[in-house]
């Protein structure tokens, strides 16, 4: 079954052929289902001579996990700080359900900053109590919520420990608990997977997925593109303070040329020559990687291949997000 995709991306403009048409038909329903909760419009920020953000816009919809990727210094952290109000933008606006965000609404955001921080000598529970109360919970409510979270994060027995006595991974979980303890409406997490082992990454991913499923959108930034690819519903790629691409992972990977792997044992070189708009990219034994020009149809390749012999594989070739990321980086660098 073809992968669901949209054509919201500027680059994939010209379409023809059954594959792309089907994709377009499906994409319409997706957009109507969800509403935009957090929106940035034309946000710019300057540090002296350095332009950290240049008219950056993005939107995060209800119940989705939005992955924010970009090189070091691309502006991810600055964007998150602007969302939290820790940093003031020079221009542009941050909207919450369509209206300008306020301090009271910002207090409803659960935040893990790039530079982690909790009180090393405070116990885990006291710490969570404190954050609950800072967000307006009563002491008892905060305690109940903290205990439930520790249970959920597998830290039930560490409540009375000082934070500094915990392992790095567990400290990270407490950091997440501090962001969740007051039941926020939105999560903004700067590099939440940094320094975690694969098991901890999975555990963190599960918690984030559960949060999103409860209708709480999650914005995460990460360098670990494989995690982003697996976890995020939509991805935004930022470079030099500008959003260069947004979309679902499949939307983004659709940006490249349309390529198919065809495994036809017994096919001779140049078997595809008669099909208009098809060129060879690579041959690997009996497997052929063919690229289709915009006007070409993949169905004609399959039809042709079947006339040669049994087709063992016929698969769309998608670049990994990391490949795409590198492509985008080099494209924008050239610009």
């Amino acid at each position: 079954m073809p992968v669901v995709s949209t054509l919201a991306i500027q680059k994939a403009t010209v379409t023809s052929g059954t594959f792309r048409n089907e994709v377009r038909a499906r994409s319409g329903t997706d957009a109507r289902e969800s509403t935009t909760m957090l929106q940035l419009e034309g946000v710019s920020k300057r540090y002296g001579d350095l332009e950290a953000l240049h008219e950056l816009s993005l939107s995060v919809r209800d119940g989705e996990i939005f992955g924010f990727v970009g090189a070091n210094g691309a502006g991810k952290t600055t964007t998150m700080r602007v969302v939290l109000g820790v940093l003031e933008a020079d221009a542009g606006s941050v909207l919450w359900n369509g209206a300008e965000i306020t301090f009271a609404l910002r207090r409803r955001i659960g935040y893990i900053p790039e530079d982690r921080g909790l009180y090393p000598k405070m116990t885990v529970l006291a710490q969570l109590d404190y954050f609950g109360q800072l967000h307006g919970m009563r002491r008892r409510e905060a305690r109940a919520s903290a205990l439930a979270l520790l249970e959920r994060l597998g830290l039930a027995d560490r409540g009375a420990s000082q934070l500094q006595a915990l392992s790095h991974g567990n400290q990270q979980r407490v950091q997440l608990a501090a962001a969740l303890v007051f039941a926020p409406d939105l999560l903004v997490l700067d590099e939440p997977f940094a320094g975690l082992d694969p098991v901890a990454v999975d555990a963190m991913s599960e918690v984030l997925r559960a949060q999103a499923d409860e209708g709480r959108p999650v914005v995460v930034s990460s360098h670990q593109l494989d995690i982003v690819e697996r976890l995020c519903d939509r991805v935004g790629i930022i470079n030099h303070g500008q959003m260069v691409a947004t979309g679902t992972v499949t939307e983004l990977t659709d940006r490249g040329p349309l390529r198919f792997w065809v495994d036809v044992p017994g096919a001779a070189a140049g078997w595809y020559d008669g099909i208009p708009g098809v060129t060879l990219v690579e041959q690997d034994g009996t497997r052929w990687l063919l690229e289709l020009a915009d006007a070409a149809s993949e169905q004609s390749i399959l039809t042709k291949a079947l006339t040669i012999g049994p087709v063992h594989e016929f698969r769309r070739d998608r670049p990994a997000l990391s490949q795409l990321f590198r492509d985008v980086m080099s494209e924008t660098a050239i610009k």
Partner: protein, 407 residues
């Protein structure tokens, strides 16, 4: 959630985290032990000077034993008389410190043997007694009754008119003024530094960014100042209570002399002085990111406090009534240390205190604005020291470039 309850949540964390810490318990215990020990020591020294002296009298010297004892008693000192048969035996007892002094020889050639120095009161008593004995002998030789002369002398005395009588409790008042001022000074320096260190701690462990996503910078700063101030207040009150109880038990200072007004005004001046300086310490602390820098960045503030203390020692304490002391007590930076000295000496009219309180309150308000601004502009800048101009949020163009600066 309103601002006041947010400040309260922050302040109570600061307070509890510190009061429960081992450092607080240990420093409070040490301070209490130190103060109590000092007072007990003072009381011991004070009592020892009024203790009785053991004086030996040999042979003819025994004739002056009774007058010496009477004379010493009149001067407030008790003398135990021990008759001795030989000088040698007496000297041995002086050497072994059984005796404080040994008196020997006839009145015209009296010798006193002591180990190190002769007690001043005993010296006066001995001199007076010897002179009187000699005088009486001479009078008798010339046929005059010594008793008649004594009566005539006793009835002749100078009538003293005191134009500005010195209060008997004056010395105690100065001691109390010193203690109050010292306590305020030390507490402001220590707890001011703690405020700066607390601000830097939140910067260096990066928690400040999460906090500022939730609370406003001034709420965070005020919460910290109030929380740490309450810790200081608890410590000061514990120390003061212990000092007062120990002092009154050992009869060094009587509680009525101490005066409830002095204690209350001490607390009020502590609150005012602490607030004024803590704001400066908080603002200064927010400009750096590492604990090592706390000393250098708070140096200017500490120096002002040290100056206040030096002025208190050199000008206010020696003469609480001087014009210099009066002027200093109105300068807001110095009021919290100087004014309590004047209050303890009971030489300041109420309206003067009221004016200086208003001046300090105004200064606190101004500092709150300035420190709040510095804190807001600096607390999220992790890394090097924030320049004062940047911290105050002055636009670069207004500051001008160094080449045409007028400063």
């Amino acid at each position: 959630m309103n601002s006041r309850s947010l400040v309260r949540v922050i302040a109570s964390r600061e307070f509890l985290a510190r009061v429960r810490s081992r450092v607080f318990v240990i420093t409070t215990a040490l301070t209490v032990i130190g103060i109590a020990g000092y007072i007990v020591l003072q009381a011991y020294v004070f009592n020892k000077s009024t203790a009785s002296l053991d004086v030996g009298f040999v042979g003819t010297a025994q004739s002056i034993a009774a007058p010496v004892r009477a004379e010493a008693a009149a001067l407030g000192e008790t003398i135990n008389v021990h008759p001795y048969a030989s000088v040698a035996a007496g000297k041995a007892d002086v050497q072994s410190k059984v005796l404080d002094a040994l008196v020997s020889g006839p009145p015209t050639a009296t010798t006193v043997t002591v180990n190190e120095t002769l007690d001043a009161t005993l010296r006066t008593a001995l001199n007076d007694s010897v002179r009187e004995t000699v005088l009486n002998d001479m009078l008798t030789q010339h046929g005059i009754d010594p008793a008649t002369v004594d009566n005539a002398i006793a009835s002749a005395s100078v009538h003293v008119v005191e134009l500005s009588p010195v209060d008997a409790a004056r010395l105690q008042q100065i001691v109390i003024g010193l203690l109050v001022a010292l306590t305020l000074y030390v507490t402001m320096v220590i707890y001011g530094q703690l405020v700066a260190a607390g601000v830097i701690e939140e910067k260096s462990n990066r928690i400040v960014e999460i906090l500022l996503a939730t609370v406003r910078p001034w709420q965070l700063m005020m919460g910290k100042i109030v929380g740490i101030g309450l810790v200081a207040l608890v410590q000061v009150l514990i120390t003061a209570a212990v000092a007062m109880v120990v002092a009154s038990v050992t009869k060094l200072v009587s509680i009525p002399t101490l005066g409830v007004d002095v204690v209350i005004s001490g607390v009020v001046w502590f609150v005012l002085g602490y607030l004024m300086y803590a704001l400066l310490f908080a603002g200064a602390g927010s400009m750096v990111s590492r604990q090592e820098d706390v000393g250098s960045v708070t140096m200017p503030v500490t120096l002002v406090l040290v100056a206040a203390w030096i002025l208190a020692l050199t000008i206010a304490l020696p003469d609480p009534e001087s014009a210099g002391t009066t002027v200093l007590s109105f300068i807001p930076f110095f009021s919290p240390v100087i004014m309590p000295i004047r209050i303890a000496a009971h030489v300041v009219p109420f309206w003067e205190v009221a004016i200086s309180v208003v001046l300090v309150a105004g200064t606190i308000f101004a500092f709150a604005v300035i420190a709040g601004r510095i804190y807001r502009n600096s607390v999220l800048r992790i890394g090097g020291r924030v320049k004062l101009g940047d911290a105050l949020g002055l636009p670069k163009t207004e500051r001008g470039d160094p080449t045409n600066a007028t400063m």
